[in-house]
């Protein structure tokens, strides 16, 4: 039994969980700077979470056990997902279950319960949010899987760890299909994490909100867990996109220096992706809900192009 490996794996999971609010705070901070506002400090999300945890939970009388269980379920599933992402090192013991389809499955599971909980109380907003969430996810999932399959075809594996390892150990290659897979995954990530232009996390305007509508009835620690889970989800997507397409810097061996380099580069990459996201959110406006299928079908087309590009250009 590889004890140090397991410790590292646990450490990575803990680190991701703890870092998640910081990424949200960082994005918000950069966005405020772009818009010439003062904005909250980057670690403001920690304070918000702490405040929510201290608050009393208010729940509707009709709430079923499902409603009560969902926050814990969603949070733990997301934590599980975070444990299998290769973040700063490859070759951790969790690598054997780090399958990309498992990952998609985790997210689908979390979403399923979230939607059920949204509908549980029978309020108008919860049901509306759930229906929108499902609509969008039905559009994102094919694009996500298609771009992942493009990667899997190149690496001949669906294991995330193997994918990262492959890129790190092979000589440098430009894969045309990766450009498309990357673009598609970015669009999908934006939609999955409920960011502009699909959803706006900063508003509670009833006509437009999606994610916020589902969790409108939650309060106190339940709300804190759900918020935390969604921050963690965004972090996971960020880490995935960084490490699949630009894995350089990730530790190949479990040595202190390599891990330190891995941590440092991961931090820089995440700051970079947060910066890009903030910049794009400052430039773009939120789309009308009825036009989101256009954007997501574009994501699908790009993913399809990636796959076609792989078949046409890269298979000899």
């Amino acid at each position: 039994m590889n004890v140090s490996g397991w410790i590292l794996a646990l450490g990575q999971t803990a680190l991701l969980i703890l870092l998640a609010p910081l990424l949200s705070g960082w994005i918000k901070w950069v966005k405020c700077k772009f818009q010439n506002r003062r904005g909250p400090i980057p670690w403001q999300p920690y304070r918000d979470l702490a405040k929510l945890f201290r608050k009393e939970v208010v729940m509707a009388q009709q709430a079923s056990p499902l409603f009560r269980a969902t926050p814990y379920l969603v949070f733990s599933v997301t934590v599980l997902a975070s444990s299998i992402v290769p973040a700063f090192a490859v070759g951790l013991p969790t690598a054997v279950i780090a399958d990309v389809i498992v990952m998609v499955g985790f997210f689908a599971l979390a979403r399923f319960f979230l939607c059920l909980a949204g509908m549980d109380l029978g309020t108008a907003f919860g049901g509306m949010g759930a229906s929108r969430e499902v609509t969008i996810s039905s559009l994102t999932e094919p694009a996500m899987l298609l771009s992942i399959f493009t990667l899997a075809m190149t690496f001949t594996s669906t294991n995330l760890d193997a994918m990262v390892l492959h890129t790190l150990t092979q000589p440098f290659q430009i894969y045309p299909s990766f450009i498309f897979a990357g673009m598609s995954l970015l669009l999908v990530g934006v939609a999955e994490c409920g960011r502009i232009p699909i959803d706006n996390p900063a508003t509670h305007l009833e006509l437009t909100m999606i994610h916020e509508a589902m969790i409108l009835e939650y309060s106190g620690r339940h709300l804190a867990l759900l918020e935390w889970a969604s921050m963690l989800k965004m972090l996971i997507f960020g880490v995935l996109i960084c490490n699949l397409f630009l894995p350089w810097g990730t530790a190949l061996h479990l040595e202190p220096t390599a891990i330190a380099v891995g941590l440092l580069t991961l931090g820089i990459k995440l700051m970079g992706i947060g910066f890009v996201l903030a910049a794009s959110e400052s430039v773009l406006a939120k789309m009308r809900l009825f036009r989101t299928p256009e954007l997501l079908s574009l994501a699908f087309i790009i993913a399809l192009l990636g796959m076609l590009g792989h078949v046409i250009l890269e298979v000899h």
């Binding site: 290659q173 430009i174 045309p176 498309f180 079908s297 087309i301 790009i302 046409i312 250009l313």
Partner: protein, 224 residues
């Protein structure tokens, strides 16, 4: 042969091929005229880049002239003239209604697949690593045709026509490392004259029909 044995230049060419295909898709998805023209110029720039890479990598210096022609014609002259024309005819704010955008996109993807299967037997022949680009160039040609038949604005149809030309030039450059010089010059001359004639036609159509909507061009029928 494995993808990993390709040289960097060949990888760049293949990537440029994929990007050219992508710009064709963007052209199909775009509904604003000015943006459409800009994307067309971008595609020209990609073609120019491909020609340059091939000219230097394989030492085909006559391709430099071809590259210069592409740069002059497809990146600057034609897009700039079109932009001027669109501004002069005051149609730059017009947004075109396309049929069902998703359907057209999937049709386009199907065309890419079709061109892949059409040229599949050829791929076995050539020793060039860039032979795969034939499928891409055929796809670009077919997507140009799709752009022509799916749109109603005469300007967009011309962009589609020029997009087809881009695909043809790309085939000549990437798959065969350039046609003989005299042919390339002749083709460039034809493109130039065609571009000028298209401009003349815009004005004639605009004067007689009061619009650049080719739906209005329906006076002549096969049978009465």
């Amino acid at each position: 042969m494995n993808f990993t044995v390709l040289t960097l230049a060949e990888q760049i060419i293949l990537t440029l091929a994929a990007l050219m295909l992508f710009t064709s898709f963007l052209l199909l998805a775009q509904t604003r005229l000015l943006t459409l023209i800009h994307i067309f110029a971008l595609q020209g720039a990609l073609l120019f880049a491909t020609t340059l890479v091939i000219a230097f990598t394989y030492g085909r210096h006559h391709l430099l002239i071809s590259a210069a022609l592409t740069l002059g014609l497809k990146v600057f002259f034609i897009p700039i003239q079109m932009q001027k024309l669109v501004t002069r005819l005051d149609i730059k704010r017009e947004v075109e209604v396309v049929g069902n955008p998703s359907l057209i996109m999937f049709g386009a993807a199907a065309l890419v697949l079709f061109s892949y299967y059409a040229v599949l037997p050829i791929r076995e022949l050539s020793m060039l690593a860039t032979r795969n680009t034939i499928a891409v160039s055929l796809a670009i040609v077919l997507l140009g045709m799709l752009l022509i038949i799916s749109r109603r604005k005469a300007v967009v149809q011309v962009v589609g026509f020029m997009c087809m030309e881009n695909g043809l030039m790309f085939a000549a450059v990437a798959a065969t490392q350039g046609m003989p010089m005299v042919v390339e010059m002749g083709v460039a001359l034809d493109v130039l004259v065609a571009a000028i004639l298209f401009g003349i036609f815009f004005f004639q159509i605009r004067t007689e029909f009061g619009t650049l909507d080719v739906d209005k061009l329906n006076l002549l029928k096969e049978v009465d």
